[in-house]
């Protein structure tokens, strides 16, 4: 019944339909199988590749000769076994086995003439046949036929001999040598499945006495039949494994498999992979002869990379072991070049960033890589593809100290680890300790960047050194001096070989950036370097230099054409420049710099500091995802509330006098729309409570300023808590007081001048607590700019106000008449 079941489950094997194999043939096979079972040797220490059993190979050869005869039995030309042919009506089993034997023979022939292409073909054929015959084999106890194992063993030995004979290998023609390498890998993989059997075979190469086998078989038969059910699963899976293995190479029969088989296969494949790696893992012993086999293993692992079945964790562990084993620098580099990318591969999809531990070990490994490279100047890494086959000779050369190039991209590692760091910061909640701990890793990262930069500079790899320089600048530009200094000193302890002079932070940034302004540098990097430079200058309150730099570069015109990352940086720079202008007391400049971004209503998005929920947004998930990727890590953020506060304060100082000056037509010249809107909203409210947030404070202050109550305005502005976030908060408050006084004076003039004939300068000066010269200069400026129709009377020290009629304000009608006539004139 199990047979039926099996048949049902397997749609492929044609032999399944015909299972009337003659009973008398069966025992022999079973005997073989049970024999092997008897001799089952648990000790696997004798690796299949071990050279030790050369003698066994000899024995196998004789056995093979004998067996070959047996194999030839199916061949009608062979006279000795002719009877058999005649006697037995060929069953399906025989047919299968005969075919296999024929293939084995052909394989032997091909072996003799060392034709690896033929060997490869025959081997493939043999495996296909074996696959077909599996059903029969399983029926007979699940052991592969002995001749098959023998063939495999011999093939393996032969392969080893050939490989050992390097000269012969070199002499081979191209197709043949490539076939050889293919075979090497295939066979190794394949034989792993039959490890046990091969092991047994090697232990007992000579065929047991037929009769003995028969006897044992008879005795066993009952037992075999009894345990058929249990066994059934196991051997079948064994078959599947074989098939699967050949599948992974040929991938032709896979799609035809039934659902259940497929499932089993999947499981098995995983196991097979696991098996293989446990073997290596278990085998410190397997690496006893490491320097020779290292590259082979490495390549194996390399091939497994990226496959679905490969378990990344074990792979990393294995590579790590390989690295420990690797003897000379060349090998170490080779292993690291595989290990580091495989670490990067291991990014769990759920969190979207590399786990911190792995990141750290990767960092350490990159460090090691650089250390090796720095020590061994003759080894260089290029991204030009080299022929892998030259490994051995390269290694020799490397050991001799000759210059050798290894394939790989060193710069990308630094890029990648940097990106991963940013990614992890984006994903970690910034208000946890985890985030702070993560930030601590930045120093190590920075050290690596500096190290890479120095290394590339030494190599004269301009492109990469520029890139790493840029990375370095991007890690520095937003940090205050103290932090930069700390980081720089840390780097010197982490990376003692650094011979750079410890510069002042501002100089360091300037120095790095200027070196990137060269025309040869890629445009994007130059732009970014410039922006970082400007940002840094602005951070240090060096407004004029920063402005000059940004004006000279004409970046404002080009900014919209750059990529989004650069645009974000540009926005950040402009905001920082605005804040800087504000700190320096340049209100108008600050307002101009901040206008574009603050008035947009999309501050968060423009600065990449979070996504604003918009009511009518129609964003696809991809867009959202992209946007999320662009977000800046929290520690780089510019305080948005402070930004708003600064912008509104600047707007107030500019807008209130402006509104007062254009009292008749306040809609005409609007400096800051958001400010106007807020003020309107505030005025419409029936009841205004005491100010609570920053915005309320500023609105209240604005109203007070408009009424000429500059003290109230000053008090309200000073009450805003956020000023404390600024360096030198007291100085800024002082500056603000002064500005408020001046603007208050101007507003006062605009609002109340129609009601006065003359105003004493002393009186004004005491009203606004300003020194007389300042009042004088403010009034003079207004007169010259024709904002105020007045003139000064020197002997009495008063301002005389001119007006059309006696004591009347210009009416709205008069004003409109003026505007109208002006418009007519320009008609």
């Amino acid at each position: 019944m199990s047979r039926f079941f099996r048949g049902g489950s397997d749609s492929e094997s044609e032999s399944e339909s015909d299972f009337s194999g003659s009973e008398d043939e069966k025992p022999q096979k079973t005997a073989d199988a049970s024999d092997s079972e008897d001799d089952f040797d648990n000790d696997e220490s004798e690796d299949s590749e071990d050279e030790a059993d050369a003698g066994a190979a000899g024995g196998a050869a004789t056995g093979a000769g004998r067996f070959k005869r047996g194999a030839a039995a199916s061949d009608s030309d062979e006279s000795s076994d002719e009877e058999d042919v005649k006697r037995v009506v060929k069953s399906a089993r025989d047919k299968q086995f005969d075919e296999m034997r024929a293939t084995v023979k052909a394989l032997g022939n091909a072996k003799k003439i060392n034709d690896w292409v033929a060997i490869q073909n025959e081997f493939t054929k043999l495996n296909t046949l074996y696959g077909k015959a599996t059903a029969i084999i399983q029926r007979e106890g699940g052991k592969p036929p002995r001749f098959y194992i023998r063939a495999l063993t011999q093939l393996e030995d032969h392969l080893k001999d050939t490989l050992a004979n390097k000269e012969a290998t070199k002499k081979m023609n191209k197709s043949s040598s490539s076939a050889l390498t293919v075979m090497k890998q295939k066979l190794k993989k394949h034989n792993k499945t039959f490890e046990k059997e091969i092991e047994e075979f090697r232990a007992k190469p000579v065929e047991e006495d037929e009769s003995d086998a028969e006897r044992t078989a008879a005795a066993r038969k009952a037992a075999a039949e009894e345990s058929d059910d249990e066994e059934n699963k196991d051997p079948r899976s064994k078959w599947t494994r074989g098939a699967a293995d050949s599948d992974s190479e040929e991938e032709e029969s896979a799609p035809k498999k039934g659902g259940k088989a497929k499932k089993a296969r999947a499981v098995e494949e995983g196991e097979a992979g696991g098996d293989g790696f446990t073997l290596i893992g278990k085998g410190g012993k397997a690496f006893e002869a490491t320097p020779e086999t290292l590259f082979k293993k490495l390549r194996e692992l390399l091939e497994a990379r990226g496959k679905k079945s490969t378990d990344k964790v074990t792979q990393m562990a294995n590579l790590r072991k390989l690295f420990e084993i690797a003897g000379n620098p060349f090998q170490k580099i080779k292993v690291l070049l595989v290990l580091i990318p495989s670490r990067f591969d291991f990014t769990p999809a759920t969190t979207g960033f590399m786990s911190v531990d792995i990141w750290r070990s990767t960092l350490a490994e990159i460090n090691e890589l650089y250390a090796i490279l720095e020590e061994n100047q003759h080894l260089t890494i290029t991204d030009v593809h080299n022929d892998e086959a030259e490994e051995a000779s390269d290694e020799i050369k490397a050991n001799k100290g000759e210059p050798v190039q290894v394939t790989g991209n060193l710069g990308s590692f630094v890029d990648r680890i940097d990106d991963e760091f940013t990614k992890s910061l984006q994903n970690i909640d910034p208000h946890t300790i985890e985030y702070i701990n993560r930030l601590r890793d930045e120093t190590g990262l920075y050290a690596i960047i500096v190290r890479a930069q120095k290394y590339f500079e030494k190599l004269n790899a301009k492109e990469y050194s520029d890139l790493t320089k840029m990375r370095r600048v991007e890690r520095l530009y937003y940090k205050p001096d103290a932090v930069v200094k700390k980081v720089e000193t840390e780097v010197r302890t982490l990376y003692p070989a650094l011979n750079e002079v410890l510069e002042e932070p501002a100089e360091l940034v300037a120095h790095l950036c200027t070196s990137l302004y060269n025309m040869e540098v890629v445009d994007r990097i130059r732009t970014r370097a410039l922006l970082c430079h400007v940002y840094h200058l602005a951070l240090h309150d060096r407004f004029h230099e920063a402005r000059e730099l940004i004006l000279m570069s004409h970046l404002q015109e080009h900014a919209p054409q750059t990529d989004i990352q650069t645009q974000i940086l540009y926005n950040r720079t402009m905001v920082q420049l605005g804040l800087c202008a504000f700190r320096c007391g340049m209100v108008r400049e600050a307002a101009n710099a901040l206008q574009e971004i603050s008035a947009s209503g999309k501050v968060k998005e423009l600065l990449a500091q979070g996504v604003q929920a918009q009511r009518y947004s129609e964003k696809t998930p991809e867009q959202e995802k992209l946007e999320k990727q662009r977000q800046l890590p929290f520690h780089m953020h510019i305080n948005l509330e402070l930004l708003e506060c600064v912008y509104l304060t600047c707007s107030m100082l500019l807008e209130i006098p402006n509104m007062a000056a254009n009292a008749h037509d306040s809609r005409r010249k609007v400096i800051s729309k958001p400010f106007r809107r807020m003020l309107d909203y505030n005025e419409r409210q029936v009841f205004t409570g005491p100010p609570e947030n920053t915005r309320d404070h500023i609105m209240g202050a604005a109203k007070a300023l408009a009424n000429g109550e500059w003290q109230t305005c000053r008090d309200l502005i000073h009450k805003i808590k956020i000023w404390d976030l600024m360096p030198n908060a007291d100085k800024i408050k002082e500056m603000l007081t002064q500005k408020i006084q001046q603007e208050g004076l101007r507003t006062y003039f605009f609002t109340y001048s129609p009601y006065y004939d003359s105003l004493g300068l002393e009186q004004l000066s005491s009203m606004f607590e300003l020194p007389i010269p300042v009042v004088y200069s403010t009034v003079s400026k207004m007169i010259i700019n024709e904002e105020l129709h007045a003139s000064l009377d020197q002997p009495t020290n008063t301002v005389i106000l001119h007006r059309p009629g006696p004591g009347t304000e210009m009416s709205r009608l008069e004003y409109l008449a003026g505007v109208y006539s002006e418009k007519l004139q320009n008609f």
Binding site: S780, L792, D793, A817
Partner: protein, 458 residues
Amino acid sequence: MAQYDLTSRIGQHLDRHLIFPLLEFLTEKELYPTEDLLKAKYELLSQTKMIDYSNQVYRQIHNLTEDDENEPGYADRRDLALKRFNELQDETAEIMNMIQDPNVIQQLKQDKIANVQFLKDNFGFQPEMLTSLYNFAMYNFAVGFYQGAAEMLYHFRILSTDYEQNLSALWGKLAAEILSLNWETALDDLNKLKELIDQRTFGSQLLALQQRTWLIHWSLFVFFNHPKGRDGIIDLFFQPQYLNTIQTACPWVLRYLTTAVITNKKRRNMLKDLVKIIQQESYKYKDPITEFVECLYVNFDFDGAQVKLRECEEVLFNDFFLVATREDFIENARLFIFETYCRIHQCIDIKALSEKLNMDEVEGEKWIVNLIRNARMDAKIDAKTNTVIMGTQYQSVHQQVIERTRGLSFRSSLLASNIEKREQELANRRKGPRNQRQQQSGAKDAEVAAPKEVEAKA
């Protein structure tokens, strides 16, 4: 006053030979110790071939009075220089003879290549001769024989087609002309050089910047000595690329520009731009002259302006280029102060004003009266209170409206006539080609009518 001295900054952008006049000037003014200046001069000279001069300075430094006490190696160097000079002279004798021949000069044309060919065919001219001419000219310059150098370079430029050498020859010629005080030709050369620099696209921006910086500095010699120079300096420096150069490479040139603007009555309109630039650059460079402008036009701090004006006087006195402009500058600066003052004030105390103008009271009153007479100013002096009373310029809204609409009636009539004309044209066209002749005459009539109207209105 030494802190406002710009010689060291300017010197970086000048030729060795051009610095000598500056040093001479400084020695005269005694701003620095004479010994230091002599040493500096000696340093400069040691790189040139002016061996006699160098020796003279050497002797001055070391207080050598005897005739035979000379700089070490003086005789050898002198002989060597003379020998080289003679060699070069011999080499170039042929070509000089050839070129200075009036017959030849007559036959030369605009086309350089044709000229070279012509000389080759008729006079056995060799291209190598040109090179030796160039070398000789350079040597002449190095020796200090500027006129000869200028002449030779002139001839060289006629024939040479090599761009680089041409440019260098032009620089050399400009320097030679400046040093031989031929301002007219120097100005020509300066303009040529400017064209050459502007036309050329330099490999790097930096190179262009450098060339312009040089030109700016060298031109100071010409502009402050040539009678038309003060217009020229404003025209040149206010060109955007030169303004940028000044702002990026040499902000101290603003002093000269400011002086030029203040002393130039015709270019008043530039003042606004100048104030803007001075404000922008004030964090980088300031001296009493720019500060004066800032005080007057940015802060309206008349007391400050007056203090600065006094400082300006001294600075100007000690500046090689600006000594000659001192009087002019003071006069014009006063005028500026007064004008601004008048615009702000209604009633001015003459005493206070005189103080601000840096004059005593009587002199001040005279000055003001002259000004009122000449400048058609709406002002009167009240002798009793000793004040100047300004006429108010304020117009009422009605006046403003009337003023603005005055032109309207004329403009509307013009508009109406134009519309009429158009109408008529259209009507004629509708009538068809039959009446074409009529239409033409009609159009002419309309045209004649319009100017008449204009006259009537005017």
